[in-house]
């Protein structure tokens, strides 16, 4: 595929009727469109309230809640966000998102510093992180390239296969990945006199990247690329007939999701202080899917909602049901949410807001239109 053709595929501006695709002037992918009508200022009071809450959170919570609940949920949410983006807006459910995150974590340990002698190269942390994210993004693009020609359950199967293959690779390779023990003591750097693994600094670090990832995805979904991606999700054949390169869009979506998962993976590795085969095992591959589905895949915020519920359950289910069977609580809550809501927690939220606004006398149609990403 030629470069011009590829750029043409990324360009979703309505083309002049009859003009062949090649004649369209090439434009950089993702450049902000000029002629498109802008949305009204989307910032609402509730957004500011949530932001203020998130910023103030470490000041009124304990270090435990800041670190183990807050920071962990944000880091996991970021990884799940990549799946929400891929699955909710690209129509591709990839189980390999934790694999991509794990690749980034492993690369940070291998190129940076970890406890294992003879494995880590000891390069500066920023270089290691950069390499980790770039390699993980490349790996994600590769996974995408392998799996985009499949649909539905076959995408799940092929990405699961890739995830499991990577799990066994890191489990059985000692020269690079150090086998079952994995890479231990992978910590964020001390920078500007702050040790970034202390609860409050680490929380703000994850919050920054979670917000950045969230805003990026929200922006991207309104960009020509995002609109085209959603078009492809809904009707790939029609988009193809309209002249869009479906495969290129999908692979690009995988790469973008990979970059988001990679950032989340670096943060999650720093959070745990280690990355082991257990971090990329099937249970985590599926946990990411659970988080995304639990929160709801219709809006990027769902990933973070799901992560909060998931982390709270993991920590406190044993208190609710103090016996050997506390995992039952986790399972039951998941079942209840998925059974009674078509779209996770977000589904409940929108059902609630529809009900409230119809009470206020608005029509269902108007309140539904207020929601941006309604299918």
């Amino acid at each position: 595929m030629s470069a011009a053709n590829w750029r043409g595929a990324m360009n979703v501006e309505p083309r002049a009727h009859g003009a062949p695709a090649r004649a369209v002037p090439a434009r950089a992918a993702g450049a902000p469109p000029t002629a498109r009508p802008r949305f009204k200022n989307p910032v609402r009071v509730r957004h500011l309230l949530v932001l203020a809450f998130l910023l103030a959170y470490p000041w009124f919570s304990t270090p435990f809640f800041t670190y183990q609940i807050g920071a962990q949920a944000l880091a996991l949410g970021l990884i799940a966000l990549s799946l929400t983006f891929l699955g909710g807006f690209g129509g591709m459910i990839s189980l390999a998102q934790m694999t991509v995150a794990g690749i980034a974590g492993y690369m940070v340990a291998i190129f940076g510093t970890a406890a294992t002698d003879g494995v880590s190269l000891g390069w500066p942390w920023w270089l290691a992180v950069l390499i980790g994210i770039v390699l993980a993004t490349g790996a994600a693009a590769f996974i995408g390239w392998l799996s985009v020609r499949t649909e539905g359950i076959y995408t799940i199967m092929i990405t699961l296969a890739i995830g499991v293959a990577f799990y066994y690779l890191v489990l059985q390779n000692y020269a690079i990945f150090n086998g079952f023990q994995g890479e231990q003591k992978v910590f964020p750097p001390t920078l500007g006199g702050i040790y970034w693994r202390d609860p409050t600094p680490f929380y703000y670090l994850t919050l920054f990247w979670a917000l950045a990832g969230y805003l990026f995805v929200v922006y991207l979904l309104r960009s020509p690329f995002g609109i085209a991606l959603q078009g492809i999700r809904d009707n790939p054949r029609r988009m193809h007939a309209l002249g869009f390169n479906v495969t290129a869009h999908r692979v690009t979506a995988y790469a973008i999701a990979g970059a988001i998962a990679a950032v989340g993976g670096v943060l999650f590795t720093w959070y745990n202080g280690l990355v082991t085969p257990g971090s990329v095992g099937t249970s985590w591959l599926i946990n990411i899917l659970i988080i995304a589905v639990l929160g709801g895949m219709r809006h990027p915020v769902g990933a973070f909602l799901g992560a909060i519920v998931f982390v709270l359950l993991q920590n406190f289910a044993i208190d609710v049901f103090d016996r050997e069977r506390f995992n039952l609580v986790i399972g039951v809550v998941f079942l209840v949410i998925v059974l009674f809501s078509r779209d996770g927690l977000l589904g409940w939220w929108s059902a609630l807001s529809v009900r409230l606004s119809t009470h206020r006398g608005e029509t269902r149609w108007r309140s539904a239109r207020g929601r941006l990403y309604a299918r």
Binding site: T62, F180, G273, T276
Partner: protein, 414 residues
């Protein structure tokens, strides 16, 4: 406003109840909160459950009260993964605000929790049953105590016993993490020194299900297999080895022939008879303290095993140390628990299997049993005591300079 009789009665009742509670609280010192972590999930779920029983037994023997302070246990679970163990511990220490932390169960978890304990100087950490050498041997934490001997100490004397049985060449099959490294080190150090050979070592992942490739690698000319696998892994291996027609005698790791394994129902079970192993516990140990412990375990946990497992004993020992230490200082945990830690470091702990003292790294010096599996009249498998070795220290009698922590390649005698 009209006040009915019912309201008055209810109000009075509430006041009475509140008063009773406040009075009760004032009458007694505040409870001591103890966090208890074991693996209730993953490959050691059965062992973790029994470990919890052992710890509970120690609390019940004191009726839940030490030096006038009530003992409150807060439980948590992990799945033998170090990150999960640290998350669970962090929750107990920082969220549930426990005074003392008892756990975890597995080797790599122990190393991770020890590292975490350095960041929480106001909490005292006491081991559960984790037995990796590195936990207390390399960069020990000032507030981490281990009243059980480690995986290396548990295998002292097995090398000699294996040679006595005529096993001159042995293949090692062990899980690939810190605890089996320690066990293999304890066995091979002695075995190699006395002239034994270990031509092949197979390290398999913890929680692995398929042992076909390992079984295929067993050389024809080895006399026995040293199998250091635990929980579900050991059962899986034994089943598959049986199906493959294997007939080599076994040398067991400490948790390969623990009570939870001896109770499994496979056909290969009978071929376990004759297996020698090193362990901190021997079911058939005749000392009255141990018999009393077993009887107490059976009485308290009718749904438990016929005889307490290694995990039950070791969790019991560590929880007993926790409570005995509290008793020594009359429940005084003030001043960053300094007095309590001093008492722990100095005390001689009475356990069902003999006295335990701590060394300078707060690591136990204690007893190891060499055992052999036998079948009793009821058809239950038991460990018979071949030999009892007292006062085994962490460096196995070597000087610290001479002693090397076990790893995949250390020791080596092909």
């Amino acid at each position: 406003m009209e006040i009915s009789k019912g309201t008055v009665v209810r109000t009075l009742a509430v006041i009475l109840v509140v008063a009773a509670f406040t009075a009760g609280a004032f009458a007694q010192a505040p409870p001591v909160k103890i966090g208890l972590l074991a693996t209730l999930e993953g490959p050691f779920a059965a062992g973790g459950q029994d470990g919890m029983r052992g710890a509970e037994l120690a609390v019940r023997q004191r009726n839940g009260v030490v030096a006038g302070r009530k003992i409150e246990i807060v439980k948590a679970s992990s799945d033998a993964k170090p990150d999960v163990a640290v998350n669970a511990t962090r929750k107990l220490v920082e969220q549930d605000k426990v005074d003392i932390m008892v756990g975890p169960l597995s080797g790599s978890e122990g190393i991770a929790v020890k590292e975490y304990s350095k960041t929480q100087p106001n909490t005292t950490f006491i081991n559960g049953s984790s037995g990796a050498q590195a936990t207390t041997l390399s960069s020990p934490s000032p507030n981490f105590f281990r009243f059980n001997t480690d995986g290396g100490q548990w295998m002292v004397g097995v090398g000699k016993a294996a040679l006595d049985k005529g096993y001159k060449r042995v293949m090692v099959i062990a899980e690939d993490y810190a605890f089996p490294y320690s066990q293999v080190q304890g066995f091979m150090t002695e075995y190699c020194k006395l002239g034994g050979k270990v031509p092949v070592k197979a390290w398999v992942p913890l929680g692995g299900k398929d042992y076909a490739s390992v079984i295929a690698r067993i050389p024809k000319d080895v006399d026995a297999l040293a199998v250091v696998l635990g929980g579900a892994d050991a059962v899986n291996f034994l089943n598959q080895y049986e199906q493959a027609g294997g007939d080599k005698p076994l040398i067991g790791g400490s948790i390969t022939v623990s009570q939870d394994i001896l109770n499994y129902k496979g056909k290969r079970r009978d071929s376990l008879v004759g297996t020698i192993a090193g362990s901190p516990i021997a079911d058939a140990y005749e000392a009255p303290e141990f018999k009393a412990f077993v009887a107490d375990y059976k009485k308290n946990f009718p749904d438990g095993y016929p005889s307490p497992s290694l995990f039950a004993l070791v969790y019991y020992i560590n929880m007993k140390a926790t409570l005995d230490g509290l008793d020594l200082v009359k429940g005084d945990l003030s001043d960053g628990q300094k007095k309590y830690r001093d008492a722990l470091s100095k005390m001689t702990l009475k356990t069902p299997v003999g006295d335990v003292k701590l060394d300078a790294n707060r690591q136990a010096i204690g007893t190891t049993f060499i055992t052999e599996v036998v079948k009793d009249a009821q058809g239950n498998l038991h460990n018979r005591v071949l030999k009892k070795i007292d006062n085994v220290n962490q460096t196995l009698g070597m000087s610290p300079a001479e002693f090397k922590i076990g790893s995949r390649d250390e020791p080596n005698c092909p």
